[in-house]
């Protein structure tokens, strides 16, 4: 693949990252009225207000504030939490691994089960199992995460009592949140896989593969699946930011100490440096996921790879 293409695409990252940084930066400044008073409430003394304004740098011109914010960011300094009074970076560091564990597990579950169900559904088109999978898929896609989480909790935690219902702990504590986050994604991927497989199975080259005497497994898993996966590859990455979005609700439901539940706490405590940092992280992640989707798509499809 052409190096220039990657370099060009890499530079196209800069603008969206700039936009994301400006957006996160302005979260504090777009608050109507005085942010310091909004954060501290109506009973704050003038000294307290002045001190907070100084701490947040609100007493300096906007562009200076932005540049100094960015310079600090470049050094890994996300500011200081107004509530916990510790560096935001440390606060997030402790939470990030939990979020990654949750989203990572959900991501793996989504692809393993999603693709499998999609293939089963497509190869047994219009069978009872196909109808079962497609119907369940629509149901799971129609549930909000928080309710799905509560229902799983109710069934497996409360009624059957086989899984812990909240908090961190052993790997068992991860099962319910991971499935809460994963099930709707399994449904989406199964539907996409099914549709793409059905599309590909009609192609002439599949008839060729069968005419060559290849067994069904090779026809389906090599010739059809590879082609059916190409449009799905972008989704592998595009889905990551959405998983982080879902994690906010899921973590709150299961009291999972990740970045998402931190974000919600920070919003209620008006802890702006923390909110800004998390929005910035997820925003940057979104931009990078888009970039990776674009690049991988180029790598995986020889036709596009050649066009460069």
């Amino acid at each position: 693949m052409k190096k220039q293409l990657i370099i060009r695409k890499f530079f196209s990252l800069l603008l969206p990252i700039f936009v994301v940084s400006v957006f996160s930066f302005s979260l504090l400044h777009l608050i109507p009225g005085d942010p310091a008073r909004y954060i501290l409430g109506d009973f704050a003394t003038p000294q307290q207000l002045a001190q907070l304004r100084h701490q947040l740098g609100l007493d300096r011109p906007l562009y200076v504030q932005y540049i100094s914010w960015m310079v600090k960011l470049a050094h890994g300094d996300f500011g200081t939490s107004l509530v916990a009074n510790v560096p935001v970076s440390e606060l997030i560091k402790g939470r990030l691994s939990f979020t990654l564990k949750l989203t990572g597990t959900a991501w793996i579950l989504a692809w393993i089960f999603g693709i499998s169900f999609g293939i089963i559904s497509a190869t047994k088109k219009h069978s009872l199992i196909d109808y079962g999978i497609t119907t369940l898929a629509v149901f799971f896609m129609s549930m909000p995460y928080f309710w799905l989480g509560l229902m799983l909790m109710l069934i497996f935690g409360v009624k059957l009592g086989i899984l812990p219902i909240s908090g961190p702990g052993t790997w068992k504590n991860l099962i319910l949140p991971a499935f809460t986050l994963g099930l709707p994604q399994i449904a989406v991927i199964a539907r996409l896989t099914r549709a793409n497989m059905l599309d590909v199975l009609e192609k002439d080259y599949i008839t060729t593969a069968k005419a060559k005497g290849l067994p069904d497994t090779l026809v389906i898993y090599k010739h059809a699946l590879r082609n059916a996966m190409i449009p799905l590859i972008t989704y592998m990455f595009l889905q990551i930011p959405w998983l982080f979005g879902g994690a906010v609700v899921t973590e709150t439901v299961f009291a999972w100490p990740g970045m998402g539940s931190l974000l919600i706490t920070a919003i209620f405590q008006r802890d702006y440096p923390v909110v800004q940092a998390i929005v910035l992280i997820i925003g940057t992640l979104t931009v990078i996921a888009n970039f990776l989707a674009d690049i991988t798509y180029t790598i995986i499809d020889p036709r596009i790879r050649a066009m460069g």
Partner: protein
């Protein structure tokens, strides 16, 4: 001659609508979905007639009662009738759907038409913004906007609308690009129609079917995001019978009163399911070549 060409196109698009309806009608799930939506709209309109109690009426002696003939869905911690509250909750859900769609479709369609019709740097700027907004997780972007605007149902709706316009812009732009090359647009331009008139009366009617499909998908996703914000405490505020908010409270009584969480959630699911069925049916009916 040119006029008659233009008119022919318009007539044809009317019969296209009829054909779309015929194809839609054949899809059983889509009809089920349509049925669900109609029932929910009727419930929202006639909630005062259908509800056995006022949604705010407290029966302090009957707190957290399981479902019975007196309280079909049971009661909450104030002894309020959950059946009545779930019925009233449909009003919030549909309000969210309508308001969000109205705002995001207006913004998205306008920007999409402009982007596709004029092209150039305007297109570039709009589409770059769309790329970012579109791929950003909707809930987090909405959360960030709620942080600025403050919590509350109206602010939540505005936030969701400010996230949702991107998919309209993207689709409308793509369709505009192809429609503007068609002969009847050329013809309109050659008889000196203004850009605005061409956009409004020639291009817009031809992208309408895609917009309709987007709307039927946008409504359920708006309802889900809004209920999530309410669940997190940043959307509808007590004593609203909003489904998401109800579940947020019900969560505390999950072991004691599971019905409290189950029914409002079922209501959300059914509503969303109805719109998704209609959306799928409409998509297949509008683009028949995609049906596999």
């Amino acid at each position: 001659m040119v006029e008659s060409n233009v008119n022919m196109k318009k007539v044809r698009s009317e019969s296209t609508w009829y054909l779309t309806w015929l194809r839609f009608k054949r899809n059983k799930l889509a009809l089920v979905g349509l049925g669900i939506i109609i029932v929910i709209v009727l419930i929202a309109i006639f909630a005062p007639v259908l509800a056995p109690y006022s949604p705010d009426e407290q029966h302090l002696k009957d707190r957290l009662q399981p479902p019975s003939s007196k309280y079909l869905f049971g009661t909450d911690e104030f002894g309020r009738d959950l059946f009545s509250r779930v019925l009233y909750g449909s009003r919030t859900a549909l309000l969210v759907g309508i308001v969000v769609v109205a705002i995001s479709a207006t913004i998205g369609v306008t920007l999409g038409l402009i982007s596709g019709y004029f092209g150039g740097w305007v297109d570039e700027i709009i589409m770059r913004t769309v790329d970012i907004v579109w791929s950003f997780p909707a809930l987090i972007l909405a959360l960030a906007i709620v942080v600025i605007l403050g919590p509350g149902l109206i602010n939540a709706m505005i936030a969701i609308a400010l996230v949702g316009w991107a998919s309209y812009a993207r689709v409308v732009r793509a369709e505009t690009l192809s429609v503007k090359e068609e002969l009847f647009v050329e013809a309109a331009r050659s008889i000196g129609e203004s850009d605005l008139r061409i956009l409004v009366s020639y291009i817009f009617p031809n992208v309408l079917s895609s917009i309709l499909v987007l709307i039927t998908y946008n409504i359920p996703s708006a309802i889900i995001t809004a209920s999530s914000l309410s669940f997190l405490g940043l959307g509808a505020q007590p004593p609203s019978p909003d489904w998401g908010l109800t579940i947020a409270t019900a969560r505390r009584y999950l072991t004691l009163a599971p019905w409290y969480s189950i029914f409002p959630g079922l209501a959300i699911m059914l509503t969303v399911l109805g719109f998704n069925f209609v959306g799928d049916g409409l998509r297949d009916a509008v683009q028949p070549e995609r049906v596999g």
